[in-house]
Symmetry: C2
Subunit: 286 residues, 2 copies
Amino acid sequence: MAVVGLGLMGGSLAAALKARQACATVTGIARRPATIEAASRLGYIDHGTTDLAAVAEADIVILATPVRTILSTLPDLAPLLPPGCLLMDLGSTKGRIAQAMNALPEQVHPCPAHPMCGKEVAGLEAADPDLYEGKTFVLTPLLRTPPAAVARAEELARAVGAVPRRLDPRRHDRLVAVGSHLPYLLALGLVATAEEVGREDCLLWDVVASGFRDTSRLAASDVQMMLDVLMTNSTAIAEAIDRFREQLEGVERLLVAGDEAELQRIMQAAAIRRSAAFRPRLQQAP
Amino acid sequence: MAVVGLGLMGGSLAAALKARQACATVTGIARRPATIEAASRLGYIDHGTTDLAAVAEADIVILATPVRTILSTLPDLAPLLPPGCLLMDLGSTKGRIAQAMNALPEQVHPCPAHPMCGKEVAGLEAADPDLYEGKTFVLTPLLRTPPAAVARAEELARAVGAVPRRLDPRRHDRLVAVGSHLPYLLALGLVATAEEVGREDCLLWDVVASGFRDTSRLAASDVQMMLDVLMTNSTAIAEAIDRFREQLEGVERLLVAGDEAELQRIMQAAAIRRSAAFRPRLQQAP
């Protein structure tokens, strides 16, 4: 097993595989020697190197870098991969990656993936062997992906405690536009609005309460990762923004018109929906 | 001391005063006998009653109900208040309350207030004697409020561990429209958008991740409390929504146009601003 990129996602995956003794050896590949040293010291990897050629020894290769780094790495990586190798990635958008992986040499078995977990802090220091525990691990196998390779990818997802779930790449991208990218943009817009108002009245930052803290948390996300996400999913995101804007404008109209009964109905429905969505639930059967 | 309303805010205030032995006796006044029994059992109050007339014995009366309940209670309450009594409230908007308290009989000393703390769960069960610890406790004294009464209100804020901060009621309402009410409406709009998309594709709720959970948390707020907040601050809220919409549209334009450099600049500024705003900081001097 080789993990390319030892940030939050790659570092956590390596750590989870080692902690659960899920595979014989984990090789970590990263740009900076200091990252490799840290990952070795933490016991997350068995070997480490800055040389991409190390993938030649692996049965499974996992790309855990930002989306556009994955896209730009693929041409260099392709000739290095051994025949029959399962190639996965953990990128946050899947359309462009699925397209690029479809063009790989036939003897490579690609299975793009996106585990639905993360933190707003990036880097190996934030890595956690339990990051994947109980989380949905989306797999977007291609038509060319052999069933045995998909089964192996599912096995890997379960090995780190996650629940695998197959999805079409486009469907995945439409869903995460609403479930992940829209929340980020709302947090970004909220902080930008507060920044503007705070320039007019410096007391603003003294009266922001815990609600602001929660709603704005995603604005502190890793910029490079999020920029890759936004630039590779802009169509679905623009649609999600439009839907959101309609909802917000509807609420604003009711508020200005003083239509309290309808406003209350919408608020109640959202409160119930929000509470139901994050009620602790039984682990899904695999 | 009499606390009218033993929900999250009133219950926590009573609990904090008792825990810090900050006043001789705390009388709790609530609509439901079961609430009074529970508050007594928890040791948050010395006496409890459903009868508003109990305020006649108090030096300080604190109204801790939703904003419009405060407004509708004032006419009944006014003739019951003893001369020289400090009357405070903990309502989330201050303009309408300041206006109403300005019309109270001259021998009452009103000092509207709004502690900047809360949870998305309501009720006495969620009360916490440490809720106010380190939080900004906004006071919006009126022109008629005697300096000694303001000083007493500040003393009370400090007694529960909070940091008092005087503000004009209108200024307060404009600031919380951005700092509290806008975040709620974004959470509400996000959940409503997800609900709509989830009706078209039921897998949506399987792929929402921790980012959605944080950003949407406020949508589970107490509906009655939030409805009072929205209906008593609609002008400032509509202005906050307009400012936010401009920010979101600006980001969407950059995204669709592929102006990556400017998008990155905005994202980086927000990430820095968000991290700075919630960095642990030294307690402000009183």
